[in-house]
């Protein structure tokens, strides 16, 4: 009897230690040699490299291009949002953003304090001329990218341990080859026709959320293995969504319907068409 209690206690301690161990730390250390950006408006073309610390909301005006070189680590270290205050994007891009890392030297955007709220954005791209992101990592923040009426191309990037990955409205949005991992929401879209191809959605509460007005979206060759929903439609999303040729972990277990929220769950919503589904995760077999 005593042994059983000891085993139970040991298991509880291990479980607790596991929980504490997997939770991201409240703050991460900023390298001492970091360069602090204290300007709040960039009027001219600017290049970031090395370690950069952003301590106040920064605006890239329409006259400027912000280029971030491979291997750059951007630390967002902004003061906490006062209660009731209107949130401000940490980096507002109205001009151009070019953040092209490489597989060997990705660009990281890290929130120094763990700020997984749904109100703020690490980078907001609003009416910008153009934005290209390759091999970027967004972590520990609210939303990684918030895009309004801009043409943005995001490839081979990682969005993890944040409230959300990418949210957008309008514009031409292309998301290819990215990984959305352990966020509350991977992608949220309002009024658009995005191209979402060859991405991996793993461990998010919801992989993709189409709120409203999404028509003509391309959702294919993605791998889904989320917690609650892989693809969810909002209450005003009445158009159907084609999501053929994706791999769904839930389908292999016979529970795909439970991971899709659409007209089958709530009358009046559009339907998500998933057939044909891929038999194996995209990328695990030679591409045809």
């Amino acid at each position: 009897m005593r042994t059983r209690w000891l085993c139970l206690a040991a298991a509880a301690v291990l479980a607790l230690a596991g929980c504490v161990g997997t939770r991201p730390p409240a703050r991460v250390d900023v390298p001492p040699a970091v360069r602090t950006v204290d300007a709040h408006i960039l009027y001219t073309d600017t290049t970031w490299k090395g370690d950069v610390r952003v301590v106040r909301p920064l605006i890239v005006t329409r006259t400027a291009t912000l280029t971030i070189l491979p291997g750059t680590r951007v630390f967002f270290d902004l003061p906490d949002l006062p209660a009731g205050a209107k949130p401000e994007p940490w980096l507002l891009v109205q001009g151009r953003l070019v953040a092209t890392g490489t597989p060997e030297a990705p660009i990281t955007f890290t929130s120094v304090s763990l700020r997984q709220n749904e109100l703020e954005d690490m980078i907001e791209i609003r009416g910008a001329k153009e934005a290209h992101l390759r091999y970027c990592v967004f972590e520990r923040g609210p939303w990684g990218l918030h895009i309004h009426d801009a043409d943005v191309d995001v490839r081979s990037s990682v969005f993890r341990n944040s409230y959300g990955g990418v949210r957008f409205q309008g514009g031409r949005i292309s998301l290819r080859g990215n990984r959305f991992e352990d966020n509350r929401i991977g992608i949220r879209c309002l009024n658009g026709a995005p191209v979402i191809e060859e991405n991996a959605f793993v461990g998010n509460l919801t992989g993709i959320f189409f709120r409203q007005g999404v028509a003509g979206a391309v959702v294919r060759h993605n791998n889904f293995d989320d917690v609650e929903y892989d693809l969810k439609l909002g209450e005003a999303q009445t158009d159907d969504v084609d999501a053929e040729s994706n791999w769904w972990a839930a389908a292999a277990k016979g529970g795909l319907a439970d991971r899709i929220y659409d007209g089958a769950d709530s009358e009046g919503l559009g339907r998500v068409r998933t057939d044909p589904v891929l038999a194996a995760p995209w990328g695990s077999e030679p591409k045809r």
Binding site: H40, T61, T63, K129
Partner: protein, 354 residues
């Protein structure tokens, strides 16, 4: 009729310059569709002077100071700088306050209404219609002698406007000293073009519009009074020039929804701008024109400007202004009270005349 067009050609050129500068200032860093907005700038200025506590609306806009100083310089050079006053001060303060309230409910002064239209913001159409209706109502009331406030123009000590010019020049200098004035770190107040560019644009526009007497509501008023399109061409020029710049810079986006700094409550947009149009006719010019006139030494206009600054501070402190979410109840009440007050004043004066 050709003479009329000829007479207005420089005013039209000023309008084009205003539209061009307004659109370019937004490209260079001012908030979208807010390259020039007198009411927004005054709310920023009131915040920078500590008159309200909204941390998102605190910045001395050099454009604003440039309008005033450019006008003063042009007036001095043209020997038109004259200290003068006409009406009693208190009602002028009230008129300035009402212009600030009406503009805040619409989210922008008449100049910004034109810039919003030029950006493709269809929600501004209601404001433009309201502005024209307000001007028309103002003409009707003034034409019947019901609101002809103030007597003949009287000379005033020149030291008064000269002192104001010096004070504004000092303020312009302080705008370039970091930390001298309160400055927003976030929000619209933190978005601005380079200060030197803003000041130069303001000086040039101030001087040009002083020489040509450009005024949005004045142009509409003259079009009604002269029953001719020529005076209104200056307003069209503002929009046309800004449309060209917006098209060239990719800032033109036609639509009703999701426009920056706009709400969808068109009735309140119309009423807010209607109040501005009505009051502007009584006060002798739109908010922009008031600043230009103040720069010429007109103490009545300077008093209206003080009223606008106080109004801007109270708009922020009391939450009267519209936001993208709509117009708050307090703002609606303020607009209705403003309209009722002006119309009530007209009616009581009419009875007195009768």
């Amino acid at each position: 009729m050709r003479g009329l067009w000829r007479a207005h050609r420089w005013t039209v050129a000023s309008g084009a310059l205003l539209g061009l500068s307004g659109a370019l200032l937004a490209v260079w860093g001012n908030p979208v569709n807010t390259g020039i907005c007198i009411s927004c700038f005054l709310e920023n200025a009131a915040g920078a002077l500590g008159l309200h506590g909204n941390p998102r609306m605190q910045y001395i806009r050099p454009e604003l100071l440039g309008f005033f100083l450019g006008s003063a310089a042009a007036a001095v050079l043209a020997r038109e700088f004259r200290a003068r006053a006409r009406g009693p001060g208190l009602h002028l303060l009230g008129l300035g306050f009402l212009m600030a309230v009406g503009s805040a409910v619409f989210i922008g002064c008449p100049v910004k209404a034109m810039l919003r239209l030029a950006g493709g913001d269809l929600t501004a159409v209601a404001g433009a219609v309201g502005l024209v209706a307000g001007v028309r109502l103002g003409i009707a009331l003034l034409g019947r002698g019901e609101l002809g406030l103030g007597g003949p123009e009287r000379p005033a000590p020149v030291l008064v406007p000269a002192g104001v010019v010096v004070a504004v020049a000092v303020l312009a200098g302080l705008a370039f000293v970091p930390g001298a004035l309160i400055e927003s770190r976030t929000g619209g107040g933190a978005q601005h073009a380079p200060a030197a560019v803003s000041l130069v644009a303001g000086l040039v526009l101030g001087a040009a519009c002083q020489r040509t007497r450009f005024c949005i509501t004045g142009a509409v008023r003259d079009a009604f009074l002269l029953r001719a399109a020529a005076p209104a061409a200056a307003v069209v020029a503002v929009v046309a020039a800004a449309v060209l710049v917006n098209a060239f810079t990719g800032s033109f986006s036609v639509g009703y929804y999701d426009q920056p700094g706009a709400h969808l409550q068109w009735a309140w947009s119309a009423l807010g701008m209607g109040l501005v149009g009505l009051v502007a006719v009584i006060a002798g010019g739109c908010p922009f024109r008031q600043i230009i006139r103040a720069g010429e030494g007109d103490l009545d206009a300077a008093t209206v400007c003080v009223g606008m600054v106080l109004g801007a501070a109270l708009v922020q402190s009391w939450g009267l202004g519209g936001t993208t979410a709509g117009v708050p109840p307090a703002g609606r009440v303020a607009v209705l009270l403003g309209l009722a007050g002006v119309l009530g004043l007209a009616l009581t004066r009419k009875e007195r005349i009768a």
